[in-house]
């Protein structure tokens, strides 16, 4: 290595540094440091003349290393990096020594100590820079195709946004149709649009879009590769019905002898083993539930278009994509865990999605709200909010949407049963959102809904089949007993993100299982792994409009990456000295990003995946793997430098 010619530039920062740190002494001491050939102090190094000092000194003094002793790099790293580059030096041959935040500002009562410490900090930076290697950013190619996991409103929106921008999309959905939970809803708050009416046109658009390849009854089983270059394996379960041939004539369904609870109606109706979840399903075709089908063959016989093949096998499809959007959605908290409310024990205690099905004109009762135990009309109805939410024994978080949909349920109930009585148990009403508070007000004003601020202790069925709801009204402090025909639990939202899939995608999950974004405010759709984005309720409780917004954001982030055509990454990453590597694989197991693989018995770092944490270097027993510009050798020189004197 050529001899070090390091220039040190010491900033006074007005009086911010110079007022505490004895600059003259620092200059003198720094001059003595090994490799330092030039030292210059200036009142404002970040100013134009200050920067010029650096640029010119590099050229004039033939400097091959620069240390700027000033503020923190988070403030002015880039400023001085440009000045260094203007002088013709690689930016990695420059370091900052933070003598303002880490010394002058925190020790202004100890001028001597601060000066001493500043010298040590600069000595460390000089030691480091003298061994820094010049580095160039790493560039990689990008496959212009996106995988979207989950075909609910989030996945569909992201897929359509991307497809409309000309990017091919692979949309993977585990059920036989896209549409997700939104397809199950009756009307949506606060506008009371019919969910199906706004959703089904979108579903049709997804189905016919030339840029979208849809895989239903499919799941992602494996992901390899890295940002811009993912190889995914998709397991396609047999549908056993050819969607291209099926005309949805329903002959098969009529002859099928197997009946199972219909998950689309959340168990409120039965369906056959050959079924179509709902008439507007996309793809518009029947599917066979392989778990329950007895392969009796009756459907094959009656199918007029010979669309059914009971021997169809599962299939594994491989796709290459550049980015991945995770939109696997949510589920309701299991109501059975709330024993006090009798969910699962009494037929007339139902959850909010079941109530949506009761409200829906395409639901099991054709939109009639009835008691599920005996089909009698419902006169008195109780809604219980925060059923499982905001409760340390269940879900500590607020599920956000329940206040609004409960108000909507109350309104829709009152429209159907004007003389009915509605009671809503609540803790707080959270109606933050455009038009939301107005909606709640309307429910109270026009429909005379009884909002009861309090909780329910227990529910049981009496001899007449009425539910006895016992609770308290915290505002009067009185006990309350309400006889109800139907109780609807506003169950909280839990994410549906399989731990295995999350691990494969390296999507970190928070303590509740929601996908953890990089930054809750500034980077809400990105996760720690570059190239993977999240959208919808998988990231946190959300209503439809927020979900759609976030899905579009995720699509635009993916688009940004793909349209640029290549990815650039920081070059401060690990590299392997192949001569030293003994193939022990410790680094492979320790790498949090799976960036290290074994090639010909030796470790190899994937430059596009490595994030540069350096855990591998700390763990390598033979010093074979190094984090560029943070090698052990360098750190030890730095340690010596800061401790010497």
């Amino acid at each position: 290595m050529e001899e070090s010619r390091i220039g040190v530039f010491i900033c006074h920062c007005g009086r911010n540094i110079a007022g505490t740190v004895d600059i003259k002494k620092v200059v003198e001491e720094v001059k003595k440091l090994p490799g330092v050939v030039y030292v210059k102090d200036y009142i404002y190094m970040c100013s134009d003349p200050g920067q010029k000092l650096i640029t010119e000194a590099i050229k004039r003094e033939k400097l091959n290393g620069v240390v700027v002793a000033a503020c923190t790099p988070s403030l002015h790293y880039e400023t001085f990096a440009r000045a260094v580059e203007a002088g013709g030096l690689n930016r990695f041959r420059y370091e900052m020594a933070t003598i303002r935040e880490h010394s002058s500002w925190v020790h202004f009562h100890d001028k001597e100590g601060a000066t001493e410490k500043a010298i040590r900090i600069i000595a460390g930076a000089v030691a480091k820079v003298s061994q820094n290697k010049p580095l160039e950013p790493i560039r990689g190619k990008v496959t212009k195709k996106v995988l979207v996991i989950g075909g609910g409103i989030a996945g569909m929106t992201a897929a359509l946004d991307l497809a409309n921008a000309g990017i091919p999309v692979i949309l993977v959905e585990k059920s036989p149709t896209i549409g997700g939970k939104m397809a199950m809803l009756a009307e949506t708050f606060p506008t009371l649009d019919c969910a199906q009416c706004i959703l089904t046109p979108k579903m049709a658009e997804v189905a016919r879009h030339p840029n979208i390849k849809l895989y239903t009854l499919s799941e992602v089983i494996d992901i390899e590769g890295f940002v811009g270059n993912y190889r995914v394996r998709i397991l396609k379960h047999p549908r056993m019905v050819d969607p291209d041939k099926c005309t949805v004539c329903s002959f098969c369904e009529r002859v099928c002898p197997v009946k199972v609870p219909n998950e689309f109606d959340r168990g409120l109706s039965m369906r056959k083993a050959i079924y179509i979840p709902f008439p507007q399903a996309v793809p518009s075709a029947y599917a066979i539930d392989t778990e329950h089908c007895t392969k009796c063959g009756l459907c094959v016989k009656v199918c007029p278009v010979k669309a059914i093949n009971l021997d169809e096998k599962e299939e594994i499809i491989e796709e290459e994509v550049g980015a991945i959007i995770v939109a696997t959605g949510y589920d309701l908290y299991p109501g059975e865990r709330l024993k006090e409310y009798g969910y699962g024990k009494y037929k007339n205690v139902i959850d909010s999605l079941q109530f949506e099905r009761l409200l829906s004109t395409s639901g099991p009762t054709g939109g009639q709200i009835v008691r599920l135990s005996d089909g009698k009309p419902v006169k008195d109805i109780v809604f219980i909010q925060c059923a499982g939410s905001r409760d340390e024994n269940h879900l500590p978080y607020c599920s956000k949407i329940c206040c609004m949909y409960t108000a909507k349920h109350a309104l829709l109930f009152k429209e159907q049963v004007p003389d009915g009585n509605v009671y809503i148990f609540y803790i707080d009403i959270r109606a933050a959102g455009k038009g939301y508070e107005e909606f709640i007000k309307r429910v109270q004003e026009e429909f005379h809904v009884n909002y009861i601020r309090g909780r329910v202790s227990k529910i049981y069925e009496d001899e007449d089949g009425k539910l006895v709801v016992i609770g308290t009204d915290t505002l009067t402090g009185e006990e309350l007993t309400i006889k109800a025909d139907l109780v609807v639990l506003a169950l909280g939202m839990i994410p549906t993100l399989d731990r295995d899939l999350a691990a494969k995608l390296k999507v970190p999950q928070d303590e509740y299982g929601f996908a953890q974004e990089v930054h809750p405010k500034l980077r809400p759709v990105e996760v720690a792994t570059t190239g993977v984005f999240v959208a919808g309720a998988v990231q946190g409780p959300k209503d439809i409009s927020e979900t759609v917004t976030q899905a579009s954001a995720a699509a635009s982030k993916a688009l940004q990456m793909l349209l640029y055509g290549e990815i650039t990454r920081e070059p401060v990453i690990a590299e392997v000295d192949r001569d030293r590597c003994n193939g022990c694989r410790i680094c492979v197991s320790i790498c949090p990003y799976d960036a290290i693989s074994m090639v010909d018995g030796k470790a190899k770092v994937n430059e596009l995946v490595c994030e540069g944490c350096g855990a591998c270097e700390a763990a390598c027993p033979v010093d074979a793997i190094k984090l560029r510009n943070y090698t052990d050798q360098q750190l030890h020189t730095v340690i010596k430098a800061v401790l010497s004197r």
Partner: protein
């Protein structure tokens, strides 16, 4: 199966019939309950104040004595039948395990005893019966026909949930046991609501109020018998029935008395009670025989 057995004060004084029937039932199904020859008052109520360690002393001493015994007898399970004793002993045991530094403080009050090494496992008779359900089934000689039996758990075997033997909001362990033995069980939504417990001494009207709800709900649903596992619950429910203006035809008994009857252990039951059982449970000999054959 061998267990150490902690009786407690009430079982020895006011609930002799509970102990007699419990031990007889256990013996019948091959469970040997070895009564500790030395035990201390459990304290009846677990102190909730975190700085009040002295109040746990009796329970700790009992656990230590049981630990000594456990080495001789080679069993770590300490059986209780009184739910209050169960509650206190199990909570003290749990607290010691989770906060061993508290055990240190408590130990400094004791000179004679050996250190407690968390060797003891406190169990309630329900848990034992539930484990031995097959043995029970095998030995049954009388069934209870169509007569409704309702269960009243009280609170102390269920709460707090960390030590309870079943979900406190809707327990079913005893009902399931009875159902498996062919008993017609009647649900009672108030089966885990507190009866009023010790307020029978100073605020009896409170006990009558709560217990009335418990008894009436069971009765309304057709129960002729309410089984309990607690001497105080039993007393309170019986006492409450006495205050009713209109007589209700429902009897409060210990679960183990019912089991003793079904197992034919008549020698531990009062004649009066056997007569009551014989009238209230109309036997179907056919089922009886077939059950015996199965066994």
């Amino acid at each position: 199966m061998k267990l150490l057995y902690y009786p407690g004060c009430t079982v020895k004084r006011n609930a002799i019939e509970y102990e007699k029937s419990s031990l007889a039932v256990l013996e019948k199904i091959g469970v040997n309950a070895l009564e500790l020859d030395k035990w201390y008052c459990c304290g009846a109520l677990y102190s909730l104040a975190i700085d009040d360690l002295m109040k746990h002393l009796g329970a700790v001493r009992t656990l230590i004595y049981a630990q000594k015994k456990s080495r001789e007898e080679n069993t770590r399970d300490l059986l209780t039948i009184c739910p209050m004793c169960f509650n206190v002993l199990k909570r003290v045991n749990k607290m010691l395990r989770e906060e061993p530094e508290k055990l240190e403080t408590i130990s400094s009050f004791m000179d004679e005893e050996e250190p407690y090494k968390f060797n003891i496992n406190v169990v309630h008779i329900i848990e034992v019966l539930n484990k031995k359900i097959d043995e029970l089934k095998k030995n049954i000689i009388r069934n209870t026909g169509d007569t409704g039996v309702s269960v009243y758990y009280g609170c102390t075997v269920l709460r707090p949930k960390e030590i309870g033997i079943d979900n406190p909001e809707d327990p079913s362990i005893i009902e399931n046991l009875l159902r498996k033995l062919g008993v017609k069980v009647v649900d009672n939504p108030y089966k885990s609501m507190c009866c009023g417990a010790y307020h029978i001494l100073d605020k009896p009207e409170l006990v009558y109020n709560n217990s009335k709800t418990i008894v009436e709900e069971a009765y309304k649903r057709g129960a002729k018998v309410i089984v309990t596992i607690c001497p105080l619950c039993l007393y309170n429910l019986r006492k409450t029935i006495e205050t009713f203006d209109k007589k209700v035809d429902v009897k409060i008994i210990y679960l183990t008395e019912l089991l003793a009857y079904m197992l034919g252990l008549d020698h531990v039951l009062d004649k009066e009670l056997i007569d009551f059982f014989n009238t209230v449970f109309i036997h179907d000999t056919k089922i009886n025989n077939s059950m015996r054959r199965e066994a």
